[in-house]
């Protein structure tokens, strides 16, 4: 603080509250604040306003949209489906991504191979979700799906498995697409984390006779923990937005089995045209996610001054 006040450039100009540099800083930030205002704050405020209006957006209806949204049993089915989806994809992606990162970090020494793996891992991340859904459909489709064909040809099963048409297999099939697309993201983040672990600590542990597992558990995991939380942070946001491949694969079926929250919200807005209820749902989801994120953020080791 003493250093700051000592800088002559920060001297106050006239009787204004801000120094010249502060004014310059705020002016430079104005476009950013303006952009955030337009693309985040303004739509959010609109959603809040819409959530207390009727479907046509003409009359104030108080909290009735919130009450209607909470009274709709389909909401709880969608929440249940989203929970099941998250429970399937998030642990699986973290375990597989972590395993892959450890394997490559410990086994692959060639810089070229590591770079190749980096590129390969990036490919699923840049594919449009709708394209991934279409490809997945060719794998799971009834009649001509590649997966059933392979299973029958190799003698693993005799009859086709109805992957997308029964609740027990539809959700895992839909989740598998997410796992395929996002495990590489977990791998990339955790592999980068492993590269930051000081070599001396690992070597010291090895001198002391620590096993591979002990090295991971007592040293590497400490460095990876904040990254895992960050992954949970990002993936939770993604899971709440999952739409395209579910829409392409099952359309939310069979019945409502794979109707995730995003698909449900879409239908309330664009099939039922109930903008008020859709806005109320969006506001409630945002509040719930904000609370969840603040809890996750508290667990992150933030550097404080």
């Amino acid at each position: 603080m003493a250093n700051v006040t000592a800088r002559p450039a920060l001297s106050r100009v006239g009787a204004g509250r801000f120094t010249r540099q502060e004014r310059l800083a705020y002016t430079m930030l104005a476009p950013v604040f303006g952009t955030i205002l337009v693309i985040v704050t303004y739509p959010f405020l609109l959603a809040v306003v819409q959530s207390v209006q009727d479907a046509a957006g003409r009359e104030f209806v108080g909290a009735s949209n919130y009450a209607n949204a909470l009274a709709n049993p389909l909401l709880y089915e969608a929440l249940g489906a989203t929970g099941t989806y998250a429970a399937l994809v998030m642990p699986t992606e973290i375990v597989l991504g972590l395993g892959l990162a450890l394997l490559v970090h410990r086994v692959v020494r060639s810089t070229g191979v590591r770079a190749l793996l980096f590129v390969l891992a990036t490919i699923p991340l840049v594919l449009p979700p709708i394209a991934v859904g279409v490809i997945a459909r060719l794998i799971y489709a009834p009649g001509y799906g590649v997966l059933n064909h392979l299973l029958i040809v190799t003698g693993i099963v005799r009859d086709e498995i109805n992957w997308l048409g029964q609740p027990t297999t539809a959700m895992p099939a839909v989740a598998s697409v997410d796992i395929w697309q996002w495990t590489p993201f977990v791998y990339l983040v955790l592999f980068s984390g492993l590269l930051t672990v000081p070599r001396e600590e690992i070597e010291a542990a090895q001198v002391d006779g620590a096993s591979g597992w002990q090295q991971f558990w007592h040293i590497e995991l400490n460095y990876l923990r904040p990254l895992v939380l960050l992954i949970v942070f990002f993936r939770l946001a993604d899971v709440l937005r999952v739409f395209d491949h579910v829409f392409v694969l099952t359309g939310g079926g069979p019945g409502n089995t794979t109707q995730l929250l995003s698909l449900y919200l879409y239908r309330i807005e664009f099939k039922y045209f109930d903008s008020g209820q859709a806005a109320a749902l969006a506001v409630m989801v945002l509040v719930a996610v904000s609370i969840a994120y603040s809890l996750v953020t508290r667990a992150l080791p933030v550097e404080r001054r």
Partner: protein, 431 residues
């Protein structure tokens, strides 16, 4: 320099003010625009439109810019664009079940009274009727009662849902009973007697409605009372989810139109309902089909009601209320649907609605479904109920039918649940 410090803030403020300005429709009325922008559906439905659009530019100097969206995104885009009264598009392509929503919301300009577009006797009345709001026949939604009917959309894709079967293996079914008998007779390992397009919501409803109507059932009666749970409707539900499913491939619950036509094209299915687009794109496309020339197309078979009823699935062009180039947009519609342009349009894969083209012998040879489409239009196919609540009704019905098809609910329970939900919805909407 100090003045320049505020430049970024001023730019943002200017953008914000600009963004908040309302649209100014009608600004260019009477003037020839440099271009017309069309929001169109991506796929075979707009392929011919894209192919003939440059001809219009050659003729008039007006560039046609086509902005494509996948089916569902197009609908979302139109809903939000109309809600914002934005003049982004001069013309919009619309599936006919969307017309009640856009008609009720008064999102489109009347093409008859404003721009003088008239009915052409070479095009069946039902094709104009489907683009007219309020609907000229059948029940009228409460919000549209008493309003003058206007043409708000003109068909550019004359889709009617029909029936296809392997004519190299058996005769044409005249009734749904014969469809079932043929399905059972022809079913064998790795070959299915019937393909149910059973994916949740829109797909299964599109597959089911012609069966429902042919069985004498319906979703609503003439007074918007829900009839999906009456005896005739329940019989149709059972026919789909039990009788036809028994001859269908496993996984019917997730089969959509593309899967159905693929199963036909690779020689693994005997028959199903079909849209013209599937025929041109897959079943009769020699680069992907093993059954080209082995499949025939007929109007919907008859049910216990004695009638076979096809379903409209027309794509129409309309002019948004906010468009500032209404006259030029209407002129384009007139040019596109004219007899001369339609000949080129058909050569480029377009699906026509003109009787003279559908009944042309040489064109019939190239397009084996034309005769069936002409007969289907002549028989006056049904349209999906003309209510602005249709999207929600379809979602409810399609989810419950899908649950019944998957065995998650009995036909009785699924039908009752759907009927109860639709009644609640319609009551809430003032029906």
């Amino acid at each position: 320099m100090r003045r320049l410090q505020w430049a970024p803030a001023l730019v943002v403020a200017a953008l914000l003010i600009g963004a908040c300005q309302p649209a100014t429709p009608g600004g260019n009325i009477g003037q020839k625009p440099a271009k017309l922008t069309i929001a169109a559906v991506q796929g075979n439905e707009d392929a011919a439109l894209k192919a003939v659009a440059p001809l219009y530019e050659q003729k008039t100097g007006i560039k046609i810019e086509i902005v494509e969206f996948p089916y569902d995104q197009l609908f979302e885009k139109l809903v939000t664009t109309f809600k914002a009264n934005s003049p982004t598009y001069d013309l919009v392509m619309m599936d006919d079940p969307w017309m009640p929503k856009f008609g009720t919301d008064e999102s489109l300009q009347p093409l008859d009274s404003t721009y003088g577009i008239k009915r052409d006797s070479d095009i069946p009345d039902v094709v104009y009727d489907v683009g007219t709001w309020p609907p000229p026949r059948g029940p009228v939604p409460p919000k549209a009662k008493g309003k003058a009917a206007h043409l708000i959309g003109v068909t550019i894709v004359g889709n009617v849902e029909m029936f296809m079967y392997r004519s190299d293996m058996g005769p044409a079914p005249k009734t749904w009973d014969e469809v079932k008998a043929n399905a059972d007779k022809n079913k064998k390992p790795n070959f299915w007697g019937y393909v149910v397009r059973g994916k949740a919501t829109n797909p299964i409803v599109a597959d089911f409605l012609p069966i429902l109507w042919s069985f004498g059932g319906d979703v609503f009666d003439q007074n918007w009372n829900v009839t999906i749970d009456n005896a005739a409707s329940l019989k149709a539900v059972k026919f789909l989810v039990q009788d036809l499913k028994a001859a269908a491939p496993p996984g019917s619950e997730s089969i959509d139109a593309a899967d159905r036509s693929r199963l036909m094209a690779i020689g693994q299915a005997y028959q199903s309902t079909v849209w013209p687009g599937e025929i041109t794109e897959i079943v009769e496309n020699s680069t992907v089909s093993q059954v080209k020339g082995k499949v025939s197309y007929i109007p919907m078979p008859a049910g216990p009601s004695g009638k076979g009823i096809g379903m409209m699935g027309n794509w129409l062009l309309g002019v948004p209320k906010a468009s500032s180039n209404g006259q030029a947009a209407a002129d384009f519609i007139t040019w596109l649907t004219s007899s001369d342009t339609q000949k080129t349009y058909v050569e480029k894969g377009g699906i026509p609605a003109r009787k003279s083209i559908l009944n042309d012998a040489s064109l019939n040879q190239k397009n084996p479904y034309f005769a069936a489409l002409a007969k289907s239009l002549e028989a006056v196919p049904n349209w999906r109920p003309r209510t602005d609540q249709w999207n929600a009704v379809e979602t409810i019905l399609g989810t419950n039918l899908n649950a019944a098809l998957a065995g998650l609910a009995t036909p009785e329970d699924a039908t009752k649940k759907a009927a109860d939900q639709i009644r609640t919805l319609m009551k809430g909407a003032g029906y």
